[in-house]
């Protein structure tokens, strides 16, 4: 059967445990005497299931592979379906209603492929180091750069959380549910899901919720898109009405921001580590990330197709908010279709709110060198839970404030995500190429080329946005 826990990596030479380093002091006499905690035992329960699946000599290989995929999938699917959040779905809705079927369909797919390149690196980082992203940045680059990174993350996460609650409120307002009930209900659900005190349980519940992101598919089918036009768009990347004007670049930025954001790095690495994944699981981690990428791309494209009738019928949606899309679609997809659209917005906001607040919790707990696991109790990991729940509650509360500048927040959130990515990607590339951290699991040449290409693309997108903002007539 072989060793079930054998690491395929050399010892991590970057780890310091000498008395001169800045670690928390321990009276341990050696690694063999490290005491076990409840978190270790919870994690070992999940690993026992994996070990049994790997060693299942009675079952067929294909069943074993499926069973292992079931056990090891989670962070990748969650991060991508969480990224299909309320503002992202509204960006896609705006895209479909303003441009119809054309350039943006294959463009959205490309943005998700770019995101896959980035997220795959976090799978390896989490599986090999068993540490979170914020912790690694602080350890390797120091608190100065660490706090910059945290500031980007916390600002972006909090603004994004506000937009998730905007989406939840908007989606439920379609059904006549008041804002207070919508926001309160969402926060209650977030509390309930988070209080499982088992990563595995939390993950399975969230995966179940995330599957409702697929609600946009029946809506897309109900809108009766021209499949010929869809095929033409994917082959020719056209048409792009208006060409490279500033409005189109802004929408491209919003669509990029809908798929590549800093919180995804912190979440997937944290979740991979919390799940207890090991280097030999990286292959399944890639499958998990790939499935998440494809599902999210499919659902995102479905939203674009769902709102094409608004483009076809010349309905202006430039200032539309969440529920207005659902209402405007009703003549074309029926009451059922528009209800599904509104429900999809609610799901998008809810799953993202849980994922994003968890990424904040992971990052804060790592930086505080305190327990930060969904396998821990609130008492043990209070900074983690306080950040997770506190940020969600604060964001929800802001949405309820009369005359709060919500439109301002919605406008900037995706753009800020794109702008904050290049430094985040630089840290990621440095970490994943660091032999003292990754051993022999560092990036290969092609992954480095792809990672650098994504970073450069994001910088160019940001610069393009800047130029068209400062000189709006340049590309008009």
């Amino acid at each position: 059967m072989g060793r079930m826990n054998q690491s395929s990596k050399p010892p991590k030479s970057g780890i310091i445990s000498s008395p001169t380093s800045i670690e928390i002091a321990s009276a341990g006499t050696g690694t063999g005497a490290d005491p076990l905690t409840a978190e270790d035992i919870s994690r070992a329960r999940d690993r026992l299931a994996v070990a049994k699946a790997r060693g299942g000599v009675q079952s067929r290989k294909s069943w074993r592979w499926m069973r292992l995929l079931w056990l090891l999938a989670g962070p990748g699917v969650l991060v991508f379906l969480g990224e299909n959040d309320a503002p992202s779905m509204l960006s896609y809705a705006a895209t479909g209603s303003q441009f119809g079927i054309g350039f943006f369909l294959p463009f959205i797919l490309l943005t998700f492929l770019a995101a896959w390149v980035v997220q795959e690196m976090t799978v390896r980082l989490g599986s090999v180091t068993h540490r979170g992203h914020a912790e690694l940045i602080f350890d390797r680059f120091g608190p100065f750069w660490g706090f910059f990174s945290m500031a980007d993350l916390m600002l972006g996460n909090f603004l994004t959380l506000v937009t998730e609650f905007i989406g939840i409120r908007a989606g439920l307002s379609y059904f006549g549910i008041p804002a207070l009930v919508a926001v309160g209900g969402a926060i209650t659900l977030i509390l309930a899901v988070t209080m499982t005190r088992r990563y595995w349980t939390w993950e399975r519940i969230l995966l179940g919720l995330a599957m409702f992101n697929g609600l946009f598919i029946p809506v897309a089918l109900m809108s009766h898109p021209s499949w010929h036009a869809v095929g033409h768009a994917f082959i020719t990347f056209g048409p792009l009405p208006g060409g490279l004007r500033s409005q189109n670049i802004l929408l491209m930025m919003a669509d990029i921001g809908a798929t590549v954001t800093p919180w995804m790095l912190f979440f997937q690495q944290g979740a991979t580590s919390d799940k207890g994944m090991q280097p030999r699981d990286v292959g399944f981690g890639r499958w998990d990330t790939s499935i998440g990428t494809l599902l999210a791309a499919l659902f995102g494209i479905a939203v674009v197709l769902a709102t094409v009738p608004l483009y076809t019928h010349g309905i202006s949606t430039e200032n539309y908010q969440g529920a207005q899309f659902a209402q405007a679609l009703q003549p074309y997809v029926g009451k059922l279709g528009s209800s599904l659209f509104a429900l999809g917005l609610v799901e998008a906001g809810l799953v993202a709110a849980i994922s994003i607040s968890t990424s904040s919790g992971y990052a804060f707990g790592e930086v505080m060198h305190h327990a930060h696991s969904l396998n821990r109790s609130i008492k043990d990991a209070w900074p983690f839970y306080l950040t997770l729940l506190g940020s969600a509650i604060a964001a929800g509360a802001i949405v309820l404030i009369p005359h709060a500048p919500l439109e301002f927040i919605v406008l900037i959130v995706n753009v800020i995500a794109v702008l904050a990515m290049p430094p985040a990607l630089l840290f990621l590339l440095l970490l994943v190429n660091d032999r003292e951290v990754m051993g022999d699991r560092v990036n290969g040449l092609w992954l480095n080329i792809a990672g650098i290409a994504v970073t450069v693309l994001l910088i160019i997108a940001g610069l393009g946005y800047g130029v068209t903002t400062l000189f709006p007539r340049l590309l008009s």
């Binding site: 826990n5 310091i16 670690e23 490290d34 070992a44 068993h130 680059f141 301002f408 946005y465």
Partner: protein
């Protein structure tokens, strides 16, 4: 040190793990243990001059772009 996960442990129930620390240690890698992670850190890496320039350049890029975002928002809201 970690020991092999033995075949007869396949009949082990997950609820019994709290009484089997040997099995827990065999299922987890050494650096997955909470206590190990608490008493160890990855050390600080050395920064080359080029890396420092790149880090600062990207940081300045973010700050400049944030200013531009604010300009865009002010224009849009007016």
């Amino acid at each position: 040190m970690n020991t092999d996960f033995k075949p007869d442990n396949h009949n082990l129930k997950s609820t019994e793990l709290s009484r089997r620390p040997d099995v827990v240690r065999s299922l987890l890698e050494e650096d997955q243990l909470v206590a190990f992670k608490q008493r160890t850190r990855f050390g600080r890496r050395k920064f080359s001059p080029a890396l420092k320039v790149l880090l600062w350049a990207l940081r300045i890029y973010v700050i400049v772009m944030l200013v531009i975002v604010i300009i865009q928002i002010v224009r849009t809201l007016h």
